[in-house]
Symmetry: C2
Subunit: 126 residues, 2 copies
DNA sequence: CTTTCCACCCACCATTTGGTGGGTATGATG
DNA sequence: CATCATACCCACCAAATGGTGGGTGGAAAG
């Protein structure tokens, strides 16, 4: 039942395979601030459609970065949270961010950079 | 004249955009051991076809990680080398590799990992 | 002069990816 | 009971990506 994209054999490419994908890093970023429901994630990332959200979540699940907790039978109170493996991504993500900025600076392209809020809506309150 | 994929605004995704691509990381890896000619690169990475090699090299060039040195007019003695920006990728690549291994271990998937030599041929001699 | 090697380019194809717009079953709310 | 929100699934589409198989023009080697 796995969507599991057979990850490449080289560790480096395996890592890239796991975190690259149009929204994966963003989702992980949001989940770093605690578990969220499907709809919350959707609200945090308005430009992301439901289908794609779920696609990405499934992939993250398959790769062991995220886990689902559903209430009882199925559905209606689903939470997604990072696994330890997901959490272990944090420093890597930080370094990628830093390098991305460095890259933009070196290429005098900093004005094309967007702040996080351009994509991730804060959504005040608990 | 740029093939330049318009990199995403978020620094994190920008970084991913720059290094993800079927062979980019491998090529950078090879270039870390010094400048190489087009054909040398091809020999180091047998499973990579010429067209795709050049494609990837162009992308790396556009993104400022690599530069070309051609002799005189054009062609026939072309070298590709990493720019400082390209070199600055080294620690990031190392961390990605490490995390890829970690990921495989956590998922008891280490047997699917390939050693570098499965893809990059050493090619003894200078 | 012919052959080989080198650094390419081009037309074309297959797969993958993200994305749109519907639909469904269920529980909660008025 | 009618309506709404949640957490999905499905058929379908469009763009991007990787890849194949053929060139080309020029330097170098036999």
């Amino acid at each position: 039942m796995t969507i599991t994209k057979h990850l490449p054999g080289l560790p480096l490419e395996r890592a890239l395979g796991v975190i690259s994908g149009r929204w994966k890093a963003v989702i992980v970023h949001v989940l770093l601030s605690g578990p969220k429901r499907t709809s919350e994630l959707g609200k945090h990332i308005p430009s992301l459609t439901q289908k794609v959200l779920i696609q990405q979540l499934r992939a993250l699940e398959d790769h062991g970065l995220v886990f689902r907790t559903a209430g009882a039978d199925d559905a209606h109170r689903v939470d997604y949270a990072l696994t330890p493996l997901g959490l272990s991504l944090e420093p890597l993500i930080a370094q990628l961010r830093a390098w991305g900025e460095h890259h933009a600076e070196e290429l005098d392209d900093t004005d094309r950079l967007l702040p996080c809020e351009a994509v991730v809506r804060p959504l005040i309150s608990s």
